[in-house]
Symmetry: C2
Subunit: 159 residues, 2 copies
DNA sequence: TATTTATATTGAACTACTAAAAACAACTGC
DNA sequence: GCAGTTGTTTTTAGTAGTTCAATATAAATA
């Protein structure tokens, strides 16, 4: 069996295999499928990844996805994000920078937010309580334009 | 039965009862115990609160604590905090200001951090993606002095 | 290609939390 | 103070997300 599928031509070929081996991990179809999907669909949870890669890998299990995202997070190939309110953890392949997130409290839509002023002022809190800061995770919460319009419309209809 | 117990003299009496009634909630022993404990032990999770108030209220249930923290959060009497890594939600009575948190990734210790520059610059991300920001929750993560010393010592012992 | 060993699968368990019905107790008004 | 009303708690069960342990599988290595 060769590696080329109909999918491969659609996007720049990320050499997930090489990336995995570079970290001492075996390049399995499951891991590459998870990486590929997360690259195209950042901020997905384990269940979403599982459902998405299932058609191509019929024998894959949800437990495997959990194992994989845990291993990949541990090796720094993906980042685990936990958002207030959503019970499940999200994952993304964008790990080069320390970026943050903004979420609509109405529809749950998540977007990336670059570090606040560029040079991570967020890494300099007022009082560190003697701690050496390693990172800051910021989650902005608000309402997106679509939901805002929707809410305004509903308010107009039933006042 | 009067309200005075051995505990009451130790700290300023917070009138939790009045606070609860002011929000249209009944002043039950369980709710007051939860408020009292969270006031003295901020950033506790439901299980911790449950174990702590159990001696004084032997019939209290963990489910009741979950219900209570949910109700109190809903009425704005306490704040729910979710931290990366810790599966369970934490609660605190400090709700007057929009403060943030710093956590040691080694021992889990949590401290309060005042809003970064005072006037919530955290509420002004670079790109809002069209969203109207309502709040920002920042969790700084680092290593506390104790753990730092411990880690350095271990490194010295086994090099 | 055979061997080794990491990884995936399977099935079960665990934790945080929620739901529904019944028992209880805080407020209301007498 | 006492009974009635109704909000809360208790009890019992259930769910979602995740982890664990044993076995099966397949990627790397020779
Ligand atoms: Mn992101
Ligand atoms: Mn706090
Ligand atoms: Zn929205
Ligand atoms: Zn520490």
């Amino acid at each position: 069996m060769t590696h080329s599928t109909a999918h491969d031509s659609h996007h720049h070929a990320h050499d997930w295999a090489q990336l995995l081996r570079g970290r001492g991990l075996r390049a399995t179809a499951q891991r590459m499928a998870v990486l590929e999907f997360l690259h195209d669909h950042p901020h997905s949870d384990a269940e979403t990844v599982f459902q998405a890669i299932r058609p191509a890998l019929p024998t894959v299990s949800l437990q495997a996805v959990h194992l994989i995202v845990q291993d990949l997070s541990g090796k720094g190939l993906i980042r685990r994000i936990s958002l207030p309110d959503s019970a499940s953890a999200r994952y993304e392949t964008r790990i080069e920078d320390n970026h943050h997130h903004i979420q609509c409290i109405h529809c749950g839509r998540i977007e990336d937010v670059d570090c606040v002023v560029g040079h991570a002022p967020c890494l300099e809190p007022d009082d560190t309580h003697g701690m050496r800061i390693i990172e800051a995770s910021i989650v902005f919460r608000g309402i997106c334009q679509d939901c805002d319009a929707l809410i305004n419309q509903q308010a107009k209809e039933k006042p």
